[in-house]
C-alpha cells in the first residue's frame, strides 16, 4: 500500500538524474557473473520496506524501515534497519544523528512491554493484565467524576466541567490518536487538557 509510490521515479523527477549517470560511471550497469565478492553481503536483501516518518522533530523526515517479516501478511515483523527516504522532498534520504539511529529507539532496552501498577508507598512496579489496569482506570475516573463534576456555577449557568482530573497529551502521536484522545477526554468534561506544544 505504501510502496505503490513514485520513488524509483524520483531520479527523473527531481533533477537528480546526475546521480544515475554517476552510478553508471562506476560500472554498475555491467552485470557479468561475478566471482565471490570480498565485500560484506548487502544486508537489506530480502527485507520488507515500509514508509514512515521520523517521530522526533517537526522536519518530519521520510524514513524507510526495513523489516524481517511482513505485517501486511499478518506476520510478526522485526525492524532490522532504518534509513532516510531518498524520495522525500524535505530530507532527500538524509537523517540527523537521532533519525539515523531510530532503530535503536524501536529496540531500546527500556521499551515498555507490560502494564504495571505501583501501589501507594511501594518501591516497585508490579505487572498486571490490561483488563486489570483498564478496569482500575475506568473505576478511578468514574468515581472521581461523579464526586467532583461541576454541573453549574454559582449563577446557575451550566458549566459541565471536571477539574480534579487532568490529561496531558503527547507531542508525537498521530493526528488520529490525537483526535480520538480529544474525543474521549472532551466528552468527560476534563478542562485540564494540555499537550507538549506549550513547552
Amino acid at each position: 500500500m505504501n510502496m505503490e509510490l513514485s520513488r524509483r521515479g524520483f531520479l527523473k523527477a527531481a533533477g537528480v538524474g546526475v546521480a544515475g549517470t554517476t552510478l553508471g560511471a562506476f560500472g554498475f550497469s555491467e552485470l557479468e557473473a561475478a566471482q565471490a565478492a570480498a565485500v560484506r553481503p548487502f544486508k537489506l536483501t530480502n527485507t520488507m520496506e515500509t514508509r514512515n516518518t521520523c517521530p522526533y522533530c517537526s522536519v518530519a523526515c521520510g524514513i524507510i524501515m526495513y523489516s524481517k517479516g511482513d505485517l501486511r501478511k499478518g506476520e510478526t515483523a522485526e525492524i532490522v534497519h532504518i534509513e532516510g527516504d531518498a524520495d522525500h522532498p524535505t530530507n532527500r534520504g538524509t537523517l540527523c544523528p537521532k533519525g539515523a539511529a531510530l532503530k535503536d529507539f524501536v529496540k531500546a532496552e527500556t521499551r515498555l512491554k507490560y502494564p504495571m501498577i505501583r501501589k501507594p508507598g511501594s518501591d516497585r512496579f508490579e505487572r498486571v493484565s490490561w483488563d486489570q489496569a483498564l478496569d482500575r482506570i475506568a473505576r478511578l475516573l468514574k468515581d472521581d467524576r461523579d464526586a467532583n463534576f461541576i454541573a453549574t456555577n454559582q449563577a446557575g449557568v451550566p458549566v459541565n466541567r471536571w477539574t480534579t482530573v487532568g490529561f496531558l497529551a503527547a507531542s508525537a502521536t498521530t493526528n488520529e490518536t490525537a483526535w480520538l484522545t480529544y474525543k474521549v477526554v472532551r466528552s468527560t468534561g476534563i478542562v485540564a487538557f494540555d499537550n507538549q506544544a506549550r513547552v
Partner: protein, 316 residues
C-alpha cells in the same frame, strides 16, 4: 536546484543485487600480488565539505547503524567529541576545534569528520603482513577483510592519518570501508546518505573534484581566500577528500596532516629492511656453510684429551 553531481540518492535495493566489487577488481592485496584487473572501475571519492558541516554526528550515527557496531557510552571530558577517539566500533568521528582566526579576530568552530582517507597509496596495506587482510579495489576503496586479518596492528603504523583500530573483541583491525557493501550495489556510503547538509558527497572522483571547485569558488566569494581541496599528493591522492576554508593550514582542523605520506620509517621497514634482513641472515648462514666447507669441522683431537688428562693428573 541541487548542485550536481552529489551523493547517489536512491533508496537501497531489497531484492537480491549482484555485488559489483569482486576479487577480480583488486589492484592491491596486502602481502600478496594480484593479477592486473580485467577492468578498471571508475575511481570514486567521498568529498567532505568542512564548510558545510554542522558537526551533528549523523555520519557517526548512520555509520554505527549500517555497520552494526556497538560504541561504548563513555563520559564527558569537557569536549564534544564522543567517543573520544576513533574506535573499532566508531569508524568516523567529528573532531571539533575552536579556532580564533588571527586575521579576522573571529572565532571559528572547525569541525572535521575524521576517518579513513582511502589513500591511493595506502600505508596500511603496505604495512600489512597478512595476505589479503587489506585490499584495494580499482575504484580506490581500501577495505579490510577481517577473515584474513591477524590483528598485528601494523596497519596502524602504516597509516599516515592514524585511522585503523584493533578490536579487543575479535582482534582484527577496523576502519571505514567506504561502505564497500553499499557501493558494490550502487549505493553511496551510509554517512554520505545521512549527512543532513550534504557536507558529505559521494560520486566519481572526477565529479567530486568538480563539485569541490564550485564549493571553493563559493567560499572564496565569501572571503575565504585560502579555500581549497585537500587531496594530498603525498599518498597519491585520496578517495576521501576535504574542502577546507583554510587549505593553507590543514593542521588547524584537529591536526589534519599538511603533507601526509607514508612515513619513511615505515618505508624503510617494509622496504630496505626486508632486503637487508634477508641478506644478513643469508650471509650469516652462507658464511657458516662456506667456512665449514673451507675449514671443515673443528674436532677435539686425541692429543687434546691427553693433554687434559695430563693436566688433571698433574694437579689432582
Amino acid at each position: 536546484m541541487e548542485p550536481s553531481p552529489h551523493t547517489a540518492t536512491s533508496n537501497p535495493p531489497v531484492s537480491a543485487a549482484t555485488s559489483n566489487l569482486t576479487e577480480r577488481d583488486l589492484v592491491r592485496r596486502s602481502a600478496s600480488t594480484v593479477p592486473p584487473p580485467a577492468r578498471q572501475l571508475e575511481p570514486v571519492a567521498k568529498l567532505i565539505d568542512v564548510s558545510k558541516c554542522i558537526g551533528c554526528k549523523a555520519c557517526q550515527s548512520a555509520c554505527v547503524e549500517w555497520n552494526d557496531t556497538n560504541p561504548a557510552v563513555e563520559t564527558n571530558t569537557g569536549i564534544y567529541e564522543n567517543p573520544h577517539d576513533l574506535t573499532p566500533d566508531m569508524f568516523t568521528l567529528m573532531r571539533f576545534t575552536e579556532w580564533d582566526n588571527p586575521q579576522t579576530g573571529n572565532l571559528e568552530w572547525l569541525i572535521r569528520k575524521d576517518g579513513c582517507m582511502h589513500c591511493e597509496d595506502p600505508g596500511c596495506l603496505k604495512a600489512c603482513p597478512a595476505p589479503g587482510a587489506i585490499v584495494q579495489y580499482s575504484n580506490g576503496i581500501v577495505d579490510f577483510i577481517h577473515e584474513n586479518c591477524i590483528g598485528c596492528g601494523y596497519c596502524i603504523k602504516g597509516c599516515p592519518f592514524n585511522i585503523p583500530r584493533i578490536s579487543k573483541v575479535d582482534h582484527t583491525a577496523y576502519k571505514c570501508t567506504l561502505c564497500s557493501d553499499r557501493v558494490a550495489v550502487g549505493q553511496g556510503p551510509a554517512c554520505a546518505k545521512a549527512c543532513p547538509t550534504h557536507a558529505i558527497s559521494f560520486g566519481t572522483k572526477e565529479d567530486m573534484k568538480k563539485l569541490a571547485s564550485s564549493r571553493i569558488e563559493d567560499l572564496k566569494s565569501r572571503g575565504y581566500e585560502n579555500a581549497g581541496l585537500y587531496d594530498p599528493p603525498g599518498v597519491g591522492g585520496t578517495h576521501v577528500m576535504y574542502v577546507l576554508h583554510h587549505n593553507d593550514q590543514p593542521e588547524i582542523y584537529s591536526g589534519l596532516p599538511k603533507d601526509p605520506k607514508v612515513s619513511p620509517v615505515v618505508n624503510a621497514w617494509k622496504g630496505m629492511t626486508k632486503y637487508i634482513g634477508f641478506a644478513a641472515m643469508g650471509l650469516a648462514a652462507a658464511a657458516g656453510v662456506l667456512h665449514s666447507a673451507l675449514t671443515g669441522p673443528n674436532r677435539v683431537t686425541r692429543e687434546d684429551e691427553e693433554k687434559a688428562e695430563d693436566l688433571v693428573k698433574e694437579k689432582a
